[in-house]
């Protein structure tokens, strides 16, 4: 019974994770400028990747596999802001100006 429940839970995680990944991809295409696209990439990097990896962890149960999945997840969460920040700073130095809404604060 509990096995079936965990199975269902992991399916839900995998499917929602995939959904958030696609949402991030759509955002990458739809959003108008580079700096808004960072946010779309953030959606796939955090919740998309996180939910898919959690779904896989639930499938794997308690084993070395789970630890490797946790490591992948943790590494992703640590590096993705660093990469995004480096990209934003490089883009600013490369004279890419963010397109802002008209009445900025």
């Amino acid at each position: 019974m509990t096995m079936a429940a965990i199975d269902v839970l992991s399916w839900i995680c995998l499917v929602t994770g995939g959904f958030f990944g696609i949402v991030g991809g759509i955002g990458l295409l739809r959003l108008p400028d580079l700096f808004s696209r960072f946010h779309a990439a953030g959606v796939t990097d955090t919740l998309g990747a996180g939910l898919i990896l959690i779904g896989l962890m639930l499938q794997a149960g308690w084993s070395l596999i789970t630890i490797k999945l946790v490591l992948i997840l943790g590494f992703g969460l640590f590096t993705s802001p660093t990469a995004t920040h480096a990209l934003a700073k490089a883009a600013l130095h490369g004279k890419v100006k963010p397109r802002l809404s008209r009445k900025g604060t």
Partner: protein
Amino acid sequence: MPHAISLAFICFALWLLLSGHYVPLMLVLGLLATLFVVAIAVRMEISNREGQPIHLLPMVLSYWPWLLWEIVKANFVVARCILTPALPIKPTLIKVKASQKSRLGKVVYANSITLTPGTVSIDIKGNEIEVHALTRTAAQDLKRGHMDRRVTKFVGSN
């Protein structure tokens, strides 16, 4: 020195978990590799309080779950923005004050900002972090400084 020891411990634990070899010869080789890595880290002067913030470990348990929940909430907001056909985004650049004193604290704060979708930290100048926010509400939430206070509590007073 305590940081070098903790680094060695973490590296060797990681080696044990990832390799899956538990023969004496392999264990000795793993230990040698660990010591080599620690020696390099000590020589590069990155095995210190900043590069290895073990003093933050107890507070991690209260900060990370809070941050994860914030990330989940922000994700839903951004996903709804992307999926709405009219694309209701108002990109703004704001400056928020970082009340942390150490560089480590500022890095934790800036990375937490970037990790939550909807806000990306672009630049740090002194005590101010320049943030690009996707929506007006995300910018206002950040300006209210809740996350700033949480991070300050997390890294402590130093």
